[in-house]
Each structure stands twice: as structure tokens, then as C-alpha cells.
Symmetry: C2
Subunit: 485 residues, 2 copies
């Protein structure tokens, strides 16, 4: 069957458009993705993302590799879980630990440099397979001052507006995508200044609009030159600063100001998706392009001015081990291959995309091998409902700043069960996601045998992956593995 699949898929290398939105929650589009209903979803209007869902497959149990940006993005490019690549937190400068301070623990010696050049990165592999590799928008793979801060060093032929920072100073061209407080004084530069895009400075253009125009241009050039393309479109939005796009803000009337601005950001992403899909249509490339739409972690909830229920019905926020931190939208469209209007409850994770894309590009098993990601082709083609697998999220960091309540932890989901292990107290929580998607009923006390079983799987996997545990400050030693708690 594998041979058949390849002969079907690999005769003509498809283009790949991977839309990696930032901080977009599972319910942050108008696409309905399974019960229970969330009335606030009605505020969102994302017709272009809806089009993708109508023409492709919606994965309702899709996860980001991590609960913050850099680790997930590094997992996409490496095919490895963050516990293995040790980029377990977000990067900025090569020597700065962005973890928050904790009273008794500290972060391990994690990879603060972030992702660095390697021939095994996804864009390098795609480039070797003949692809034009294009990065547009937020990169945030490698720290400033390291080669990895430049997408051109990571296998991309083009880099538009990407560097070592994970947020824009401003979303507006009138601010030159820098300081949101001035349209005239640009004398001070900051690490948050979006690089490039000078042609859009001092103009009434939103960052998502500029990026969509640039990305369309790059797709058009690749098609004109006869190259298949891999476009990694990462629009910075809807990351903070939660700024209004003036073109959409009126649609969000009646909402609290921050929520109205957020809705306008989401709408901006949808409009950008619309521009890209329209360009594919115009170029005659819709049928020959695999489009993936996803996010790098769950929505911000309970800080940055946002209410605490922004991932409802899921619990938690970006930065937390609950479902709201990891569950993300994932839509895949490839006409005549992926069934239209389909949905799946298969558990998949960002780093699965790496081997899956490479398989569809026609690379053989060795060329597409990765440590952790699974080939989910059979799920996307509607041939299987579920994979035998578990997913681990490892976060040996306290979050800093406003979101400092998010403590070091590791979590595993296997089947319907989810075990969360809190490093500080060496304490577990256990949930049944099928019965309790909102993670309200901790079963750890009533089902100690399940805690034991899952904690052993988790510990074994973490040891094999070389995961770095939080360090006990007093003893100067790592917190013990989960099967010793």
C-alpha cells in the first residue's frame, strides 16, 4: 500500500503552504470543531479558514509540540519533541534564560541558543528535494546573535521579516512595525522591530497584509520559474501586542476593548489566508498545493488583558499544560487527496508534519526520518482513524512576567487519559479528556494505578529522549524522574 500511495502522490511534487499562526486558540476561528458549543465563537468571522475546512480535513485533537512558540517551531523543523531538542522555552538572546524565577527550582541548562543550522531541518530537506523554500513572518527559531536567528541559515531560500524575536513592536506600517507609540519618531531601535518590509513603512498597511502580499509574490515567482514551493507563512499575529486592525475593528462592536482588538487580529489572519488562497486559485495551483493551517500553541488567557476563559471549553492558557495550552486548530487541504469536509479525532502533534510533508514530497524513509514525529498521511487521507501513540509536553520552566502562575511541569496524553506532573510538589493530576474535556475532575487520587502506569511511560520516554528536568536549587540536582515520585 505504501508503494501505491507513493505512486499516487509523488508523481508531481505538490506545493506546500504551511500557515503557522501564533497563539491562535483551538476555538479562535469560526470553524466549528466539535462539542461543546462555545457561544463566544459566534463573534469570530473567518470565512477563508472556513473554506479550508470545507475543502479539507479538520483535526479536532491536534496539538502544538509545546505551550509556547519557539519549542513548537523548532519541533516542526526538527521532527523532534522539545524534551529531546532541549529548546524547551522561548528564546531571545543566546545567553539569556527567559524562564521566570521560581522559589525552589530553576530551569535546567536548556538550549537558549535555539535552533541552529543542520542538514536535517525540514526546509533543508525540502530544498534538497527541489523545493523553493520561503519563510514569511515570525521565525523565532534561533536566538539573536546566533546563525539560527536567520531563516536563511536554516534552509530557507527566502526570508521575509523573520528574525530572533517572536513579536512585532507594532502591527502597523504607520509605526514601521516598530514602536506602536509614534508615527514620527523612529530614532530608537529595539529587538522587537520587524526587520525588512521597508516598502510598507509609513503606510496604512497591517503587518498581516504586508506579509500576505509578500508571500503571494514569492509563490507567484516560484510558479513562474517552475519550482515547487514550500511556503512557511507565520503572520506574527495573533501574538501580543493585541492591536486593532482598523479595517476590522468595527466588526467587533460591543466587545471589551482587548477582545475587540483580538477579534480584529484574528480577522486579519483570515484575510491573509484569503489572499493566499485566492493567489493559489489565480495561479491554477489550488489542486497541486497542500495547505496546512495551524497554530504554535493555545490562546493567551488570563493575562495580557484577556479574560481567563479564552480557551473555553478547554482549561488553561498558552504556557500551561492543560488542553488550552496545547490544543490548536489544524486543517489540511489537498484537493483529490485529502477528503473534503472531513474531520478526524486522531491525536496528532506539530512535529508529525515534518515526516508527513517529506513523505508526500517523495523522500524515502531515510531522508524523512525524524526522532519523534509520526507520518500521519494515512489519517489525512482518511485511511485510518487513530494512531498508536502518546504525546509528551515537557516544560521545565516557570513562565515569567504577567503569566508567572504557570509552573514547571510535564504532561502526557495517551488515549483519553492525560497525566500532568508538577515538578515543584512532585504531584500528579489525571484527567479523562473524553468525559472531561475541560479537565475539571482530577482522578489521580481515585485511580492511582493509572497514575503509576502513565508516570512510568512518561519517565521511560523522558529518559530515552534525554529530557532535562527542573533543578532543585538547594540540592543542585534535577528533580527525580516521575516514576520515583
Amino acid at each position: 500500500m505504501l508503494t501505491l500511495l507513493c505512486s499516487l502522490l509523488c508523481t508531481n511534487q505538490p506545493n506546500i503552504l504551511l500557515i503557522m499562526v501564533d497563539d491562535l486558540g483551538w476555538r479562535d476561528t469560526s470553524v466549528r470543531n466539535g462539542p461543546p458549543e462555545d457561544p463566544t465563537q459566534a463573534q469570530l468571522h473567518t470565512p477563508h479558514i472556513q473554506r479550508l475546512a470545507d475543502e479539507g480535513m479538520r483535526l479536532d485533537q491536534a496539538y502544538a509540540s509545546a505551550c509556547v512558540c519557539t519549542p513548537t517551531r523548532a519541533s516542526l523543523l526538527t521532527g523532534a519533541a522539545p524534551a529531546r531538542h532541549h529548546i524547551t522555552w522561548w528564546t531571545l538572546y543566546h545567553d539569556r534564560d527567559t524562564s521566570g524565577k521560581h522559589p525552589t527550582l530553576r530551569a535546567p541548562d536548556w538550549n537558549k541558543e535555539g535552533l541552529q543550522p543542520s542538514p536535517d531541518l525540514l526546509p533543508e530537506r525540502l530544498r534538497r528535494a527541489g523545493y523553493r523554500t520561503i519563510h514569511v513572518g515570525k521565525a523565532h527559531w534561533g536566538a539573536h546573535g546566533t546563525p539560527g536567528s536567520d531563516p536563511l541559515q536554516l534552509g530557507f531560500d527566502e526570508n521575509i521579516a523573520g528574525h530572533g524575536s517572536g513579536a512585532p513592536g507594532s502591527y502597523r506600517g504607520i509605526h514601521r512595525f516598530k514602536n506602536a507609540k509614534s508615527t514620527t519618531d523612529f530614532s530608537k531601535s529595539s529587538v522587537w522591530d520587524v526587520p525588512g518590509l521597508e516598502a510598507y513603512h509609513d503606510r496604512d498597511l497591517f503587518l498581516t497584509e504586508a506579509l500576505a502580499i509578500e508571500a503571494s509574490r514569492s509563490m507567484e515567482a516560484a510558479v513562474a520559474s517552475g519550482e515547487p514551493f514550500f511556503l512557511h507563512f507565520a503572520p506574527y499575529a495573533v501574538h501580543t501586542p493585541i492591536m486593532a486592525n482598523p479595517r476590522w475593528i468595527d466588526e467587533a462592536e460591543g466587545l471589551a476593548p482587548v477582545e475587540a482588538r483580538y477579534v480584529s487580529l484574528v480577522r486579519s489572519v483570515d484575510a491573509a489566508v484569503g489572499v493566499l488562497l485566492a493567489r493559489l486559485d489565480e495561479l491554477g495551483m489550488t489542486n497541486n498545493t497542500l495547505v496546512i493551517f495551524t497554530s504554535d500553541n493555545g490562546a493567551v488567557s488570563g493575562y495580557a488583558g484577556r479574560p481567563a476563559n479564552r480557551n473555553a471549553p478547554l482549561r488553561g492558557s498558552k504556557s500551561s499544560p492543560y488542553e488550552g495550552g496545547h490544543r490548536v486548530p489544524l486543517i489540511a487541504r489537498w484537493p483529490q487527496h485529502i477528503p473534503a469536509g472531513a474531520s478526524s479525532n486522531a491525536m496528532v502533534v506539530t512535529h508529525d508534519l515534518h515526516p508527513t510533508l517529506l513523505r508526500w514530497v517523495g523522500l524515502d524513509a531515510e531522508e524523512r526520518s525524524v526522532p519523534d514525529g509520526l507520518d500521519i498521511s494515512s489519517i489525512l487521507l482518511g485511511q485510518r482513524d487513530q494512531l498508536e501513540r502518546f504525546v509528551v509536553w515537557h516544560k521545565p520552566h516557570r513562565t515569567g512576567g504577567q503569566s508567572g502562575r504557570f509552573m514547571p511541569c510535564t504532561a502526557i496524553r495517551m488515549g483519553d487519559e492525560k497525566l500532568i506532573a508538577w515538578h515543584t510538589e512532585q504531584r500528579f493530576e489525571l484527567y479523562n479528556l473524553q468525559k472531561d474535556p475541560g479537565e475539571q475532575n482530577d482522578l489521580s487520587k481515585t485511580h492511582p494505578e493509572r497514575v503509576g502506569a502513565l508516570s512510568r511511560v512518561l519517565a521511560d520516554w523522558c529518559r530515552e529522549a534525554g529530557a532535562q528536568m527542573s533543578v532543585d536549587q538547594e540540592r543542585g540536582e534535577p528533580v527525580p524522574w516521575f516514576d520515583a515520585w
Copy 2:
């Protein structure tokens, strides 16, 4: 009526797409532009330029301001005839006279620096009127080493690939638009290297394709930001080097190699026009955009490997005072304003476009005043058939190199009559273009009274304009005015 016209036209500033092709002859598209038929025109296939003609007005007696590039381009931006702005020849370095050597005459102290910054240039005026001003492609207004070599100094907000040179080293991305002889050695740089466009280097893209993609992007950004735009699209083609576009070369089977390559260049221009028109359609801007299609001088004929009849049925070549040197295609489309499928025999010239565009943009008489160009709105709107005017071409230069047979001269057309004044022998030729479009029957001997009348008009106008005559090397003095011959 003027007020009515303005209230009709100026309520909503139209976008302006001015396509300034290079060296494209009057018959170098598949658009039929009046008798006599030319069988070689059947080799050309330019459906997108044809679409413009079908949807707009064809001007069959349109002239370039000069018989070579720089003077015509400077006339567009200044609204002045070359005799007045003294950029009477093509520029390269600020201190280099590119004129050919002549046994008895030399060029006057013409403006070898080329066009320099001024608030009265067309793009400056359009920018003041609220336009986003975009230059794409060949600039060739100011010499290298002067501010005018940079379109950003001439009123353009954006400059893509324009500088002080008038030809590309190569049309191909695999050559990085530099040396056409190598796809690997780029160590030597030259004044003919096309600046910018790095994203297209080492790729199978033709210069016209890259420029069309870039121009489309800039139009899209202007529309997204709500700015009306002025796009000056000058595709370098079909200037030498006469290189094949591999995508079209097979269509020219059976032609001599140079002609086949030339046809593929023309087809490349047409394809670029197609990309721009399609983008206007997609942006919903077709009805609100004035499109002008024209060329900066007649086709190369009798040198650069091309046969001597390439402007047939017209006589002469780029660089000569015969009709083949100046007559150019001119098509204007503005749906619901300019009648569709119309044609006109009004005598118009490149520098007319300057005040005409500014009038339609809504500028008042003072803001659009120019020394020589006439407002041809009434022609384009189908309200008048002809203007009371004459046109003068002044070329106090011998052409250099391969085309050294083109000698210093001045010419005037008034009504159907054309007088050519050769500076060397102080000798006239007179033609009746209505009866003799190919300028075969010199009437100067049989109609001395017409020679006298026209030479007086010519001399009066040249004196008023401050034209610089060729200089007699022996005497060190200018050749006398035409009414003293």
C-alpha cells in the same frame, strides 16, 4: 466643459499604470494599426496588448519624444521636449559624451548628467497629489554618479531594478541579470548589472517576469493601503541584448535566430502586460485604472543583427529621424471614460502624457503646467480628432558604434508634412506622410516654399526652446539655425 470634465473625472483619482516598453516598434505587436498591412506582423502574438486595444483607444500617429531612450524618458517626467531640457542623447556617466564621433561636427554641451531632482517632475507632482509612485524596471533618467540615477530621487516612492543604465547585462535570472555568459561566475560586476532582484537570482525567471511579479506586488500593496498608485512599468525589454526567453522561443520557429529571439522578447512583454492586467482584474481596479501602453522610441533596424526593414512600412530605425525612429505604439485604456475599441490619428507625443495624466488626477492648471506637452484628454475621450500642433525632434548627435550611420539632424512634423534637416550638409528632406508614409519621395526640390515655411517654424521654435545645435569643429561655432541654410 472643462469643469464638467473635471467633475466627471476627478471625483475619484484613478490609478495610473504607464507601461513604457523599450525600443518596441510601431508594428511590434499583433495589434493592427492602420494600413498598409505588414505580413511579418503575423509572427507576433500579443493577446494582452490586443486586449488593451480592444478595451481602449489606439493612437496610430503617436510619437516618442526622441529616437533614443533617455531623452524620451526625461520628456515624460518633465513635459518638455528634448530640445528644451538638453538631454538630447542617452546618458551613462555624468562626464561621458555617448555621442559618436563625426568628421566635421561635434555634439553641443548637452546635459550629460541626465534628469536631476526637481519638484516639477511627474512622479513628484503625482506624489503631492496623494499617489503612491512606483518605478519598476529600466529608469535611465540620470547618469551614474548623479542623484538622478536613483528613481527615489526623482519622486518615486519605490524603485525596483532601476538605475543609470539602459540595458540589462542579461534577461535571465540564471545569469543574475548580469553577465549572459555564465551561470556560475559572478565575480565581475559591470554597469549593466541590473540592481536588486536578488530573490530572482539563480532561478529560471526572465527579467520581464520578475518585474511583472514585483510590480503586481506593489499595486496590491497600494490598493490594500487605500492609496491611488502611479506605476511606471518599464520592462527593459525589448532593448538589446536580444536574448531568447526560453518559454516563448519555440513559438518563433522558422525565423532567423535574432528575429526569433526578438519575437520571444516581445512575447515576454505581452506576458508581463497580461500579469498586470490580471492583477488589476483581481484587485477590482480595472475600471478605476488608466492604463497607457507605449514605447520610448522605434525598433532597432539594420544593426544589432536585425534586418533593415524592422519598422516597415515605416522607414528608418531607432536613432534615425524617419518615422521608424519615432513612431511608437500608444494605447490608452480607462473603461467608461476612453471609448473601447477606438482609434485616433491625432498626432501626440510622449511628453503630452505628463499634463494629461495630471489633469485626470485632478491637478489644477498651474500644478500641471509643462513647457511643451499638450493635454490630450479630449483626444482620448473621443471628443476631438486632432490637435493644432507640430512636433519637433532634435538630435545634435551622431549615433555611436554599430549604428554610426545615423547623423545629426532635426525634424518637424506639421500636419501631413515632415521636414528633416541634416546638420552636416545643412540639407533638407521633405515628405508627405499621408501620401508617402514610408518617406520614399523627397519633395524638398519640388516644394521649396514648403521647405522655407517649415524651416522657419522649426528655427523659431528651436530658438525659443533654447535648442543646442551641433557644433562645427573647425569654426568652433554652432551650425546656423535652419532658416539661415
